[in-house]
Every structure is written in C-alpha cells, then in structure tokens.
C-alpha cells in the first residue's frame, strides 16, 4: 500500500484503523521481510482462521501485525503459536470478544525460548517494561483486530475491558520454581517451549505478609480465590493463580510440590451453597434456591491454573479470574512454539 507523500506515516496507521490506540511501527516491506526471518515457516502458510470474521491468516499477515506491535523477529514463533491457541475452537475468541464481561487472552510462555528471547518472568512480570512481553501480547491482539475484525465497539462488547487487552503476555519463572511448570502440567516436556492462552480479567493482588507456614498461606490464597470474578459463581469459571517467589519459598521450605499444593488448596476451595443462593445475605445475585444445602467446589477439576512468576521481594501473589469455561465458554489452550 502506497502512502501519499504528504501523509505522516504514523498518522496514516491510525487513519486506516490499524492500531489499538497507541502508535504502531509502520510495516514496511523491509521490516516484514526481516520479521519473517524469525520463523522457519513459509510466509504463505495459512496459520488459522481469525475470528470473528474467520479470515484466513497467513504467516506473512501475522508478521505484518508483529511489526506493527513492535516485535523483534525472534518473537514471531511465539506470536504464531499464540495466534493458533487463541483462534482455536476451544479458546473461542469470538465469544471472548463478544461477551460484555471484561476478559481477554492472557498468554503464558514456558520453556527455553522464553529466556532466549528475553522475556520477563521477574520484577513487574504482569506489568509493562519488557519488549517481548509487551509486544507479543499486543501483536496477537492486533491480529485479532486487523485480520479478524474484532475491534472494541464492534464485535468486542466488553462493558469495562481491562488494560491487559492491550496485550497480556508473560513468562513463568521456571528456573526459580521448585514445581513443575504450567506447560509441563499441561503435557509438554521441560525441553519444549509452549504458550498457554487463558481467558481472563485483570490481575488482583493477594497480600499475605504474615504467613510463615504453607498451611496458613494456602488458606489465605484460597480465601482470595473464592472471590474470583464473583463469590457467588462456582464451577462455571476457571482462574489463574500467580505465585510470587517469596510466597513460593513457603512451599519450597516445607517440601510441598505442586501435587501437594493442589490437594491442599482444593480441599479449601469448597463453598456451602446456602450462603450463595439467590437472596442469601440480602444479595439477589446467586445460584438457584434448589441448589441450597450442599457443598460444591469453587472450581472444576483442573480449573485452577498455577504459575510461578514475579520479582524476588514482596509477599504478594495474584488471582486472575476467568470467564465461562468448558465447551460453552473458553478452554485454556496450550500450543508448542516451533522456531
């Protein structure tokens, strides 16, 4: 596409609706060619159909959007795997866009490639400041917007949205974790690089600066998770728990592995339905009265995804509430990253 001589190239990107509200890098032929050097895939390979318009998307089109987002070529394989994950039937990107709930794709990168491309799994891990984290998540959102037509106010109907919809991607701190990684939990070997897409809202901090025992900290984390999205919603949504290094030290010191933690916290994530039926406690929201009198788990089996990440100091973790799960909603999806 040729720009007019007097057009400002940055303004031209806005004028054509190609941005997410922030300036983008003009996708010149040279930049796109350089981006394509980051993958072994042919530029004309079809990656997938991009919801909501189900547009056929080639590797080259992903590369163009990766340039817009500010990616370096070595990030492209992660962007490609992420696009595949987000645009799978199981993830249901069309529904994630169309819902009025304020959720979007959150991407967690595991495996050796994360550190090789300079991803952040440490200080400010869920925030800004790292080029790979910021631009990979952004590129995926730009693909959905530009290729799929999923723009806010169009098919994206979120009532509030959250800042992570600009792009939300981070790496798990595997080197500092005594536990198996999220990707290993999901069936990928430690030598493989993989990205997991999870549909979630913005992160909410869990402060616990007093717990010294894993039992106490687990109770605190469970308390926070019981309120994920809504204290009155059970079973129908998943959540992600990001455990920081200092909190993880409680488990490491006590010799708890991931399996032990999952067993212990699952026992605490039980809800007596008498307290959450319609009208209980003077709150009209809830579950039908016919479900009173029983105890149910907050999350379905496997519905709590646990990741280790964050800076070395600070007794804080984070809960990221999900959206409707299962075949009627969005399933977390993991894809191998192929260089």
């Amino acid at each position: 596409m040729n720009l007019a001589t007097l057009e400002d190239d940055h303004e031209a990107m806005f004028d054509r609706g190609w941005t997410d509200g922030l300036p983008v890098v003009p996708p010149t032929e040279a930049r796109v060619a350089r981006m394509l050097e980051g993958t072994s895939r042919d530029a004309h390979d079809v990656v997938c159909l991009i919801p909501p318009n189900l547009a056929e998307c080639t590797v080259e089109k992903v590369a163009v959007n990766a340039v817009l987002a500010g990616c370096r070529p070595e990030y492209l394989p992660v962007v490609l795997a992420s696009v595949e994950a987000v645009c799978s039937d199981e993830f249901n990107m069309h529904g994630v866009l169309a819902t009025t709930m304020s959720v979007g794709p959150i991407l967690i990168v595991n495996g050796p490639l994360a550190s090789q491309i300079g991803m952040n799994s440490g200080i400010n891990v869920l925030g800004h400041g790292n080029r790979a984290n910021s631009s990979i998540g952004r590129a995926v959102q730009l693909v959905v917007r530009n290729m799929g037509g999923g723009a806010p106010g169009g098919v994206d109907r979120a009532t509030l949205g959250h800042m992570g919809k600009q792009g939300f991607c981070f790496a798990e701190d595997e080197a500092g974790s005594p536990w198996t990684s999220l990707a290993e939990e999901r069936g990928f070997g430690p030598d493989l690089s993989a990205v997991t897409a999870f549909c979630g809202e913005g992160p909410r901090l869990v402060v616990d600066q007093r717990s010294r025992s894993p039992e106490s900290l687990t109770r605190m984390l469970a308390d926070a998770l019981l309120g994920a999205v809504s204290p009155r919603m059970v079973m129908g949504l998943d959540a992600m728990l990001v455990i920081s290094p200092e909190h993880m030290s409680r488990y490491r010191d006590a010799g708890w592995n991931r399996t032990r933690f999952t067993e212990e916290i699952s026992a605490l994530l039980m809800v007596e339905t008498d307290g959450i039926v319609f009208g209980a406690g003077g709150i009209e929201e809830g579950i039908p009265e016919g479900l009173a009198g029983i105890t149910v788990p907050k999350f379905r089996p496997g519905g709590l995804l646990v990741v280790h990440a964050g800076g070395p100091a600070g007794l804080f973790s984070a809960v990221i509430g999900g959206w409707l799960n299962g075949p009627a909603g969005s399933e977390p999806v993991t894809r191998e990253v192929i260089p």
Binding site: L3, E7, D8, D9, M13, E29, N53, A55, E56, E60
Partner: protein
C-alpha cells in the same frame, strides 16, 4: 511527510458481501416466524411472551435454541431457520 512510502496491509483485505435485505412483511398473518433463544437466562421468558403476541397476529411460530450464547449459531441451525422461516426474532440477552 512520510518516511516510508510503502507499507504492507495488516488486514484481511476482504470486502464484505453485500446482499439486499428481505422486504419487511406487511403482515405476519400466515407467515412462519422463527424465535431463536440464544440460551441466555430468561430468554425463554421473553420469547414465550413474543410467541403469545405474534401468535395472536396469525403467525405460525417455530422455536429454536442455540447450544450456547458464547458461540455463533451452528451453520445447520442457521440454514434450517433460513429455509423454513419467513422472519426470525432473536432473544439476545438476560
């Protein structure tokens, strides 16, 4: 003034197919009207009332339900509605 004369298009470069809308029926009498419940809570309450009202206008009503409100209606369902109904009303949300 720009410094990059040529950029590559990041969009799908597609053009939506344009089709003319069906003419709005002057009367529902004798027509088949599909009522599509997208499976949101209380959509059935709304459509029950709509069925009562348009049934009184002489329309024949057929009820349909999407498997889930979070995904587009399956192709087969859309095809069935398009080929058996003269008009359709969709209950969007709770």
């Amino acid at each position: 003034m720009n410094t990059h004369a040529t950029v590559l298009d990041p969009t799908a470069e597609d053009r939506p197919a344009e089709r003319e809308r069906c003419l709005r029926p002057e009367s529902l009498a004798g027509l088949t009207v599909g009522l599509l419940d997208i499976s949101k809570p209380r959509g059935d309450v709304f459509l029950d009332r709509v069925e009562e009202r348009i049934g009184g206008l002489g329309a024949r009503v057929k009820r349909y339900t999407k498997p889930t409100f979070t995904k587009p209606a399956p192709v087969d369902l859309r095809h069935e509605i398009a080929t058996t109904c003269d008009a359709v009303i969709e209950a969007l949300a709770d």
